[in-house]
Amino acid sequence: MKKEAAKNLRAFAIELAVYAVLVTCYFFLVLHLLGEWLYHLEARHRYTYAVVAILLIAVQAVALDAVTTLLFRFLRRRRR
């Protein structure tokens, strides 16, 4: 039981590490490439900004969910 818990914890730690690298790259892309554009969009075109905002968060949710699911599956397969 303890061995199983340790294995799960290790898998989770690996997932977190991989995820952290992905997220750091993502920060760079989103904040540096989109930051300025979103700032101007918010100031000048509020309606477009509202649509872009909701699309960005929804797309990010689906994409990151897919990434974490894939990571979980990959790590579980490796454990077997």
Partner: protein, 308 residues
């Protein structure tokens, strides 16, 4: 890191950690976590109107992930969630208009802070009373040998008699919610519960799961696990509307929301898996400290100015 839209300097790691904690809470309790996220953003000096709008945007993303996971576990009543979304959207718009009126009057931070404290404390006290009473009653029943097998896993509530009286109110049209085990209930009661939740959502931010999840259990009589999943599904629809509404009014910093959400994705997955290991009253009892944390942060912010 500087976030130009809300004109705030916030450490992104702080945002990711806050997102992660909220993700766990959201997955486990079916709440958006605004009672933590709103005060946590305010703590960093973000104005309440931005804290409210940005939190809503982050909640959309987090709830998509958690609702998808709950759907896979069979914890979502799609019919109930879809009906409630209409009431919530109407209420959220009223709440957002209230925020706008306070913004114009120049006292948005003070009023929202006081309302938040009262609401958070009220929910905690009520849920503590109810879940403790239910757990004590379950203990007595099991000691007397009245509870056996599957019966012991039934989601009881000390508020049950009041719930049954509400379900007996006959105001046409009556609807059936078989997934939630409700034979008959007035459509207007469902919409009213959603509308009240919506007002809190638009006014205090977030999906107002801290109001809606307990309301679904105590007023409508939905089992706790289903209330958690259905609430999240409903939050996706209503928080999306709230985000668009607040973004048009200039209250959303989507960059902050995107950063917070990266932590929430992992947290939500952990929270959803954890619900399988706890009974309804225990989930409700564990919920009690959460609004208290939110209230404590707001009180601290009020007393000290803002930043920690």
């Amino acid at each position: 890191m500087f976030f130009p839209i809300s004109n705030a300097h916030i450490n992104p790691i702080y945002l990711v950690v806050v997102g992660f904690i909220i993700g766990i809470l959201g997955g486990f309790f079916g709440v958006g976590g605004s009672f933590i996220a709103g005060p946590a953003l305010r703590l960093m000096g973000v104005d309440w109107n931005y804290a409210v709008g940005t939190d809503l945007a982050h909640i959309v993303g987090k709830s998509i992930v958690a609702a998808k996971q709950h759907r896979a576990l069979g914890n979502v009543d799609l019919k109930l969630g879809s009906i409630m979304a209409f009431g919530t959207i109407g209420g959220a718009e009223c709440g957002a208009q209230l925020i706008q009126a306070l913004k114009r009057a120049g006292n948005v931070n003070m009023v929202v802070s006081y309302v938040a404290i009262v609401v958070y404390l009220g929910i905690s006290v009520f849920m503590l009373w109810e879940s403790r009473k239910t757990l004590q009653s379950d203990k007595r029943r099991s000691q007397a040998g009245l509870v056996k097998g599957a019966e012991s896993k039934k989601d009881r509530s000390a508020f049950g008699p009041v719930t049954r009286s509400i379900q007996r109110v006959k105001i046409w049209p009556m609807i059936a919610l078989p997934t939630s085990g409700i034979r008959e209930i007035s459509l207007w009661i469902v919409l009213l519960v959603a509308f009240v939740g919506g007002i809190f959502s638009g006014f205090l931010g977030g999906g107002a799961g801290y109001i809606r999840m307990p309301s679904m259990v105590y007023v409508l009589g939905v089992p706790t696990h289903l209330a958690v999943g259905t609430d999240l599904f409903e939050i996706v629809i209503s928080a999306s509307y709230g985000t668009i509404s607040h973004a048009i009014k200039g209250n959303v910093d989507i960059l902050i929301a995107l950063v917070m959400h990266t932590g929430a994705v992992i947290g939500a997955q952990i929270g959803v898996v954890a619900t399988q290991y706890f009974a309804g009253p225990k989930i409700r009892l564990a919920f009690v400290p959460l609004p208290l944390i939110g209230a404590a942060i707001v009180i601290y912010t009020l007393m000290t100015g803002h930043k920690l």
